[in-house]
């Protein structure tokens, strides 16, 4: 009994049960880094940032200057065709149109051919969600993601379904090089233009012994001229859902003005270094009606550098912000030297 008593007492003295722990965490005495806005830190931040931005900006502008780009708006040049397309009953009438242009100097390096659309709202919410990724993955599921282009009235499902697929851009371009009245077609690559993940992961054809049977029981979207399994009859690996043009169209753009990669110039023979200077002709098969909603169509030839295509914005923005940061650094220095208050506190 006595032992127990003394034991309890000892315990009570050593550690009163309700006494809080003396840990640094509980006593809010954790070691901590207390950064402060010191003049050196702030000024060095500003000057370093300014230098960094300026140098990046200059690099960007310099490299962007080396880009060669030809952009041709053919919405007006092919006005006959566009008028024809305004009447949707003429959907299966072909309309060809050709546009000439001259290169004053060679375009060296890889040359990419884009089609550009203006005022085409691919980023509209109802448009952008109208697709079935499960279908495009080759899974034969019927679902409601494609409204309003899911099935025909007789119940036949569309393949591919959805507003995006239905509105696929279907103008075709051929580029001809006119050298001394001899006309050479510029060889173009139609594969390898899309993201690897899109081509190999996101888009899969349904499994079957051949492609047309895989799409049996479905029919093409209403605006299409041919079913999906005839998109590229020459190349099995560029047909059906994994057709590069289709994949690229299905990656909807962020804004109403955008350009999608159409072809790359194949660098063989006289085009091994790019496009030589001279006269060229685009032969355009005009199928895609846009005049109704005042959209415009372009065809673009361009090269790229490490920072991508020919957009001067980033370089200019960097130069401006770099200049601003440096100037701010000087202003801060001036203000600090002139106007600072005393920094010690004396208690009255």
């Amino acid at each position: 009994m006595k032992n127990k008593m003394s034991f309890l007492q000892q315990e009570g003295e050593a550690c009163p049960s309700r006494c809080p722990d003396n840990s640094a965490f509980r006593q809010q005495r954790l070691p901590a880094w207390k950064p402060q806005f010191t003049i050196t830190a702030v000024l060095s931040t500003f000057f370093l940032t300014g230098m960094f931005c300026l140098s990046v900006g200059v690099c960007l502008i310099l490299s962007a200057n080396s880009i060669r780009e030809i952009q041709i708006d053919y919405s007006d040049k092919c006005s006959d065709c566009s008028k024809l397309r305004e009447n949707s009953s003429n959907w299966n009438k072909e309309c060809l149109c050709s546009v000439n242009f001259t290169l004053k100097e060679d375009i060296l390096g890889d040359v990419f051919m884009y089609y550009g659309l203006q005022n085409f709202y691919q980023n509209h919410r109802r448009y952008a969600i109208s697709r079935s990724d499960a279908q495009l993955l080759g899974q034969n599921v019927n679902n409601s993601y494609c409204a309003p282009f899911t099935t025909y009235q007789n119940g036949t499902p569309m393949a591919p379904c959805g507003a995006i697929a239905n509105s696929m851009f279907n103008d075709t371009f051929d580029l001809f090089y006119n050298l001394n009245s001899s006309v050479t077609q510029v060889p173009l690559l139609k594969t390898g233009n899309s993201w690897w993940t899109d081509k190999n992961v996101k888009f899969r054809n349904p499994k079957s012994y051949n492609l047309s049977s895989a799409f049996a029981g479905t029919s093409r979207p209403p605006y299409w001229q041919k079913p999906v399994y005839l998109l590229d009859e020459e190349d099995e690996r560029n047909n059906g859902y994994i057709n590069d043009d289709f994949i690229i169209w299905m990656r909807v753009s962020a804004f109403a003005t955008f350009r999608n990669l159409y072809r790359r110039v194949r660098r063989i023979r006289q085009f091994a270094d790019g496009l030589p200077a001279g006269n060229y002709t685009f032969h355009i098969s005009y199928n895609f009606p846009v005049t109704k909603f005042k959209a415009r169509k372009h065809v673009i030839l361009s090269t790229v550098v490490w920072s991508g295509g020919s957009n001067p914005f980033l370089g200019i923005a960097y130069v401006i912000s770099g200049t601003a940061a440096t100037l701010a650094g000087f202003v801060i220095t001036a203000i600090h030297l002139k106007l600072r208050k005393r920094k010690t506190y004396f208690q009255k």
């Binding site: 809080p20 809010q28 950064p35 499960a134 993940t197 996101k202 990656r251 909603f293 010690t344």
Partner: protein, 1139 residues
């Protein structure tokens, strides 16, 4: 409590959103983007509320399960408090709390007397006497009590502590009952072994509970501001929705109609107008993140964290009482950083309610000052050994005295010193009890008297016993019995008491003790020199806040005494004007007295009270003391805890008895402060401001017309408040619990300031509940105040730490948290708004839906929570050293509407850059391999990534105190963002749910582009640099005090010593009376009548009954007059109790 949850507007709003999302035409987001955060938020809140409830129940049970002895079918049984019912008979023992309002039936003391201490109830420090009605006082054993079958008819439950009306019907006769027969809940039984009581009111009907006011749900001002802001944001949201809806209608009308070949309108949508209407709701869904769903729950989590820090604080742990500080409510923490007014109770909060005989002045010689012995003031730690009283077998071992010279004087036989202590041992109304030889117990009516008699006892003048006619004193070992001839009792007008005794030698002597102001005038002229020396000493004592009494004696001639006592007998038997005639006789005999000296009693303060008050005052917090105790006592405490100082030249007292008088006094004071000197009284330069009202005291003296009560009447409120606020220190005396609450309410109502009430007893419950923040002193017997409080700790001095450290930090953290929180949500959401103009107002989101779901709950929640919990601007020692650091909280500078708009503006600025920089980059951009870059998914990722990085950098700038946890959360959040991003964009998830994870491969492709990273870097730089510049310039040009303190941390100054120096300032010019005596009239009569003496001790003495006007009448009358405003007496509509 899911229902309660949805009662909150915010939650209803989110439920409404959820319903909106289920409509397919409107739903612009997947259902889970709203429901996941909502469920998470509700779960966390529910868990928190459940734990809160659990702990509250636990502490309630602690009280409810207190044991009391209840008489059930003739046997005493232990019952829990909560099971005590009206009509039960309860047995109470000494020092027990009274469990319910009881009718006293009988007690261990003769005549059914019973002593109680009501400090818990009304804050008075003296003991009071209660008596059972004679018929029941015989019922002293359980058997007879069990047979008691009376019936009590009484008034309905009310909150008047000093009134009770009722009738007992028993054995076919009626007995009137009054407050004199009642033991109220919250009292403590003292000096009485046991008593029996009949429960009249229990539980919420008890006067104590009736007085404690309603419990209101407390909200902080930040809470209210937050609610307003959320409403504003909601309005803003609707505005944005309307703008975008109009935009949508126009777009559909101009463009969408033509675009129908590729994108026909939804079924049911036939006009652009209807489309706009639908898009309004769609945008409401998308933009709902401006009203942050996780705001409320995050705020709760942060407050919970702060509460735990309070609970864990070792510096607020009292080792003596084994109690740590406790945050009982977890919702008020940041309000602690905004307190402007503190209302403090006195007894038990500022003082320990222990009286100690600390100094005295005998025959012009001052004893008791340690300084006299050691020369310079000794440090607290190096006190000399206390005086050794071992020579005296009867000495009280707990008594300590530090000046050995006094004892030497006694041993040397200094007649003055001996007479001094003889007086102390004779002139009092203490009862003694000697259970075994040498073990004396004193039953003192007031602690002052107890202290004086105990002092005399230790110095060798032991009061041993008394009968109505004799007093036996052991003087330096020899028993001497004095004949007690008369007790000239104390009352608050006379401010003195005297006894007339006949020594064994037959010499008749009058011993008198009383207030210096009264007594010094009644001295014999030959005392002049001595009197001036003594009054110097008195001033010295008073300056230290000691309670002083002057002692004097007068030798009476036998013949004079006989003649006088004859007249006294006549007067006391007179029918009319008995009081006056007796008072006149008392006056007459208390003349030409010889001065003996003065005593100084220390009303022991709690540790560190003056220092705490000084620091809090420096922090611009106004402290008001509200006490139920009397004026003198309260003023004394005011001086001893340095609230009042001698340089407060003009002490303003409200003493008027009628409405009119009080009004005049108040307006005079207001006028005085306006025109007196033009100095603003809130400034700290006290001595310079002459003619300022420095102090306001309220003390009702007249029974019914108490100024306090008038001052609180509606039309006087403002004047009272103005006067009080012009004063540097405010002490309200004689306030009832409800009036305390009224005063607090007054300040709340007119000053719109944050108030804090601190108290320990049940009488403080009402004010604790009324104030914005209630603090209870825990670790003492009473638990009522603690239960009603929001915070509790065991020492008043912890208040400074609670406010200056925890409160300040809480406020700072909460403000920083809110600013950042609104900022990040605006930066996040407004991007959708800008995007609306570029996507045909179609309610397309900028981000992936998973990003929208997780942004608030995963990517950005933890770093800001960590900042809200751990951030510190200056270390805790600094906030004590520079109390001025507390001011931004009082002025609400860190988060107000202005700050809110700055945050919002910053958020919008960020969102603009966040959208337009990628927009500029992405237009016509291509990747470095020629493929398209400007696709929607890449854009979404770019914006989302730069947003996460920008807000992370921003939180890094906001965090001033990077603990390991902050590092972990900030870097962790960024890491989590990229981890989740890549996981969401992985092949595996896509193959499982192709329609849900459409972003497959985007992260790998987009984030591999240098252009994207350059965009992100540029966005970050442009968003952050202006913030850095502004912050630095603000710091450089207009530094806050906290900033400068941070800078000067290394430059240590000797400021610490400042507070201490103040302790020993001189007390020149203090010409006030230090008199205070917690005493009550009537006990003298009680003793002389012998009615409280045990029969054994009475046996020998001749017992002569007094005239009909008994002591109990006096007691009762006195009682009634001391109390304040009594209400209409007609409230006694019957409440019948069957027993």
């Amino acid at each position: 409590n899911l229902f309660e949850q949805f009662q909150e507007v915010a939650n209803t709003y989110f439920l409404f959103l959820l319903i909106l999302q289920l409509i397919p035409q409107i739903s612009s987001l997947s259902w889970f983007t709203t429901i996941v955060p909502l469920v998470l938020v509700l779960t966390i809140t529910a868990v928190k509320d459940a734990t809160d409830d659990y702990f509250r129940h636990k502490s309630d049970n602690q009280v409810n399960n207190r044991q009391s002895q209840v008489l059930i079918s003739g046997v005493l049984q232990q019952e829990q408090w909560m099971n005590v019912r009206v009509g039960d008979i309860i047995k109470l023992e000494n020092n027990q709390f009274v469990a319910a309002d009881l009718l006293l039936l009988s007690s261990s003391e003769p005549h059914g007397l019973c002593y109680i201490e009501t400090a818990e109830l009304d804050g008075w420090t003296n003991t009071k006497v209660r008596q059972a009605i004679p018929v029941t006082s015989e019922l002293a054993d359980t058997g007879r009590l069990a047979g008691f079958d009376g019936e009590v008819i009484c008034e309905p439950p009310n909150n008047k502590l000093d009134k009770f009306g009722g009738t007992l019907y028993w054995k076919e006769s009626k007995y009137p009952l009054s407050n004199q027969n009642m033991l109220l809940r919250g009292c403590v039984l003292r000096n009485t072994e046991w008593c029996f009581g009949l429960v009249i009111f229990a539980g919420p009907d008890t006067k104590l509970m009736q007085n404690s006011g309603r419990t209101k749900f407390k909200r902080t001002s930040i809470d209210r501001l937050m609610n307003t802001l959320v409403l504003w944001i909601f309005g803003f949201l609707v505005c944005m929705g309307v703008i975008l809806a109009i935009g949508n209608a126009i777009w559909e009308h101009e463009v969408g109609v033509c675009f129908q070949m590729y994108l026909p309108w939804d079924e049911g949508v036939h006009s652009a107008f209807f489309s706009g209407f639908l898009s309004f709701w769609s945008y409401i869904i998308i933009l709902n993140t401006v009203v942050p769903i996780s705001l409320y729950v995050s705020v709760e989590v942060i407050r919970l964290g702060h509460s735990y820090f309070i609970n864990w604080d070792k510096k607020m742990y009292c080792a003596k009482r084994h109690t740590a500080a406790e945050a009982r409510t977890t919702t008020l923490n940041e309000e602690l950083g905004q307190v402007e007014y503190i209302f403090s109770d006195k007894t038990g909060t500022l003082t320990q309610n222990i009286m100690v005989f600390s100094k005295c002045s005998v025959n012009g010689h001052s004893y008791g000052d340690v300084q006299d012995v050691l020369g310079p003031k000794a440090e607290l730690g190096e006190r000399p050994e206390p005086v050794d009283f071992s020579f005296n077998a009867l000495a009280d071992p707990r008594f300590q005295f530090w000046d050995p010279s006094l004892l030497e004087a006694i041993k040397l036989g200094d007649p003055h010193v001996q007479e001094f202590f003889r007086l102390l041992s004779l002139c009092h109304t203490v009862m003694s009890e000697e259970k075994t030889e040498g073990e004396l117990y004193y039953k003192a009516q007031s602690p002052d008297e107890g202290a004086l008699v105990t002092a005399a006892r230790n110095f060798g003048f032991v009061f041993r016993s008394r009968t109505p006619k004799t007093i036996t004193v052991q003087e330096l070992g020899a028993d001497i019995t004095y004949q007690l001839l008369a007790i000239l009792d104390f009352n608050h007008i006379r401010k003195r008491m005297s006894v007339i005794v006949r020594s064994p030698e037959g010499r008749i002597r009058l011993y008198c003790k009383g207030a210096d102001t009264i007594l010094l005038e009644r001295l014999h002229p030959i005392n002049q020199d001595l009197s001036s020396v003594t009054s110097d000493h008195l001033n010295e004592f008073a300056g230290e806040g000691l309670r002083t009494l002057v002692l004097a004696y007068r030798d009476l001639e036998q013949s004079y005494y006989e003649e006088w006592s004859k007249r006294l007998r006549q007067a006391s038997s007179a029918r009319e004007a008995r009081e006056d005639r007796m008072a006149q006789l008392y006056e007459e005999v208390e003349q030409d007295m010889m001065l003996l000296g003065a005593t100084a009693i220390e009303d022991k303060l709690q540790q560190g009270v003056p220092e705490t008050i000084a620091i809090l005052t420096l922090a611009n917090i106004k402290i008001w003391v509200l006490t139920g105790d009397k004026q003198e006592t309260a003023v004394n405490i005011g001086y001893s805890c340095k609230m009042l100082t001698d340089d407060m030249t003009e002490v303003f007292m409200v003493t008027g008895h009628t409405v009119l008088e009080v009004r005049e006094e108040l307006s005079a004071a207001v006028w005085g402060s306006m025109h007196g000197s033009g100095c603003i009284p809130t400034s700290l330069c006290g001595s310079g401001c002459m003619g300022l009202p420095a102090q306001l005291r309220l003390h009702p003296q007249h029974p019914l017309l108490s100024p306090q009560a008038h001052a609180l009447e509606a039309d006087m409120e403002v004047e009272f408040l103005e006067t009080a606020c012009a004063c540097k220190a405010v002490i309200c005396c004689r306030v009832t619990p409800l009036q305390k609450a009224q005063v607090v309410e007054l300040v709340k109502k007119y000053k719109r300031a944050v108030t804090l009430a601190i108290g320990d007893g049940a009488n403080d419950v009402s004010m604790i509940k009324t104030a914005h923040i209630g603090v209870g002193i825990s670790g003492q017997e009473g638990i009522q105040a603690v239960l009603a409080s929001d915070y509790s700790f065991s020492q008043f001095k912890f208040l400074q730490r609670l406010l200056l450290v925890h409160g300040r930090w809480s406020y700072l953290r909460m403000c920083k948290f809110l600013c950042y929180f609104f900022y990040k949500n605006f930066a996040f959401t407004m991007v959708h708004f800008w995007f609306g103009f570029f996507c045909g107002f179609s309610a397309q989101t900028v981000y992936d839906q998973y990003f929208i779901t997780l942004y608030n709950i995963v990517y950005t929640s933890l770093p800001v929570l960590a900042m809200g919990v751990f951030d510190q601007d200056v270390p805790e020692q600094r906030s004590m050293e520079y109390p001025k650091l507390y001011e931004p909280g009082q002025l609400n500078l860190l988060f107000n509407k202005r700050e809110f708009f700055i945050c919002i503006a910053q958020g919008i600025y960020t969102s603009v850059l966040m959208f337009f920089i990628p927009y500029g980059v992405f237009a016509d951009a291509t990747r470095d391999d020629g493929a398209q870059l400007a696709d929607y998914q890449s854009f979404a990722i770019t914006v989302a990534t730069s947003l996460v990085i920008v807000v992370s950098v921003q939180i890094g700038l906001d965090t001033g105190f990077w603990t390991a946890i902050n590092h972990f959360f900030i870097w962790g959040s960024l890491a989590a963002y990229f981890a989740i991003l890549f996981a969401m964009h992985s092949d595996g998830l896509f193959h499982m749910f192709p329609n849900q994870f459409r972003f497959v491969g985007t992260a790998q492709n987009t984030l591999a582009q240098p252009a994207v990273w350059l965009t992100i870097a540029l966005t970050t730089v442009v968003c952050i640099m202006p913030v850095v510049a502004f912050r630095f310039l603000k710091l450089d040009l207009k530094p806050e005090l906290s900033d400068t303190v941070r800078y000067t941390q290394l430059v240590r100054k000797k400021q610490k010593s400042q507070h201490r120096c103040r302790r020993h300032t001189g007390h020149v010019g203090s010409h006030r009376s230090g008199y205070a005596f917690a005493h009550q009239e009537g006990f003298g009569e009680l003793i002389m009548s012998g009615r409280n003496m045990r029969l054994s001790s009475l046996a020998l003495s001749s017992f002569t009954p007094r005239p009909s006007t008994g002591w109990i009448e006096t007691l009762r009358r006195k009682k009634g007059s001391d109390g304040s405003a009594a209400g209409s007496p007609g409230s006694a509509t019957g409440k019948s109790l069957k027993v």
